[in-house]
Amino acid sequence: MGDTWKRFHCDRLAMAGLVTIVVFAMAAIFAPVIAPYNPSEQFFDGLTLEGSPLPPSWRFWFGTDTNGRDQFSRLLYGARTSLLIGIVANGIAVAVGAALGLVAGYLRGWTGAAIMRLTDLMMAFPPLLLAIALAAILKPGLNIVILVIALVNWVQIARVIYTETVALSEREYIEAARALGAGNLRILLRHLLPHLIPTVIVYATLGIATTVLLEAMLSFLGRGVQPPTPAWGMMIFESQSYFLNAPWLVFIPGAAILILALAFNLVGDGLRDALDPTQRGRG
């Protein structure tokens, strides 16, 4: 563990990613303290006389949106939505995917085949389209978005864990454990799972980046969390028609999505190198 941290610590890009995530998490947690205004408050002086949004100024740091609301406050509260969905939805997906992959890889036989054919089926659906279809059928909202993203995201981790479990199951120490009378559950939890933890951690981190982007796309398409809850994708959707005159309304939340996704990607990549130094530099 100490070595892993040392290697990670030396990876400047990964550390930059980690610092960024901490900053965003702080902004999300302390949003009510940091935010200068209520994110839903519509200011009378928040629009120009013609009714267009205000550019960044001392009063409104990141300008105002098309409803005269403070963009900076909305951005802070939007970080809550992105991080909450990114962590919870992806957490569920990783837990379910890893469990299914582990069981499929260890038991194989028809249980394994059934689970893996299910992942084949899931791969036939474009993730965004499936998420949209589900979100269109169910009433959109925070819980549904989490459910939908978890339903779409468990597949990749399940396949990766399956492949690794199949390889591990053939090792002699598993056979030895079985010969000593260890039950299936004990072998799964005590002998297989610990070896898979690094992979799970790496994919969980990289998966948050994907989830942040998927959530932003869903909310850009109006099928994510619903107003008045601020979400970065929705902020861009709402100001899309104004954006040639007020490009900051797209660029600022857009940059926030990009930076957060990039940070999780960099940390995930850094963790992959740090947890498995033999793979270093192999891309």
Partner: protein, 306 residues
Amino acid sequence: MLRYLAKRLAASVLILLGVSIVTFGLTFMIPADPVTMIAGRNSTPQMREQIRVQLGLDKPIPEQYARYLGRLVTGDLGISYARKSEVAPLVASRLPPTLLLMLGAIIAELMIGLPAGIYAATRRGRFGDKAAMTLSFLSVSTPQFVLGLTLLYLFAYLWNWFPLGGYGKISNLILPALTLGLAGGGWYSRMMRSSMIEVLRNDYIRTARAKGMSEWRVVMKHGFRNAILPIVAMIGLDVGIFMSGVVVVENVFGWPGIGQLMWQAIQSLDIPVIMGVTIVAACFIVLGNLIADLVSPLIDPRIRLR
């Protein structure tokens, strides 16, 4: 090879059957009653009953599924709530622009990914390598709608290099294709880098260098040809990734493909169109995966035929 082909084909058919079960199941989860959607709110009970019988909703579920599957096989995707016209011809008329856009995106991602990957592989461990790989992370972390809007703002609005949107000319295609393909370019650059590093380790590369061949010719003549093979096999898989992206990209650029159709259907909750596009997209993904499966052993005989 023939057995392998038959096996892959059978697997593809099974997956499509699974797709039909899922979409059939999804239509049952809809809270809105399809009869009301078609008949309108002011319809009489007799009219509703008539439509219910017409749609076969009075039959048991397995029979309903059999009829549903029968319709799908004959290319009947149902009737759009919003347009009151058949979904299948609608989707078919929107497919060519989407396929054109995808072709453009494939060209864009190869033109970005391959040179970047080769460059990084030849500078392995040095600054150029790290910069290229960081940029590849940047490209896969960029939300496509933000990228699309940014390109529109810079190249179409501010500098007037390209039109603000529309369809028909090659100049219309460039920005959307770039938007759709950039993330793929990032992935390809990483794959090309590791593939090239792998190839450059071979003995015949050392021989070529020992002959006194210039490094450029070693890389391009002996390295490139072999390093690109695993990449070519991946192109079929792009279809699946693009099918998600087109919804966003076509909406941003006003591109008249199935992505825009999907976007309009989402806004009016036109479930038959949403399901129709999803089914057609799934067919293309299964086809793309099948092509990838068939191409891989052809270009690399070492891949075991399972």
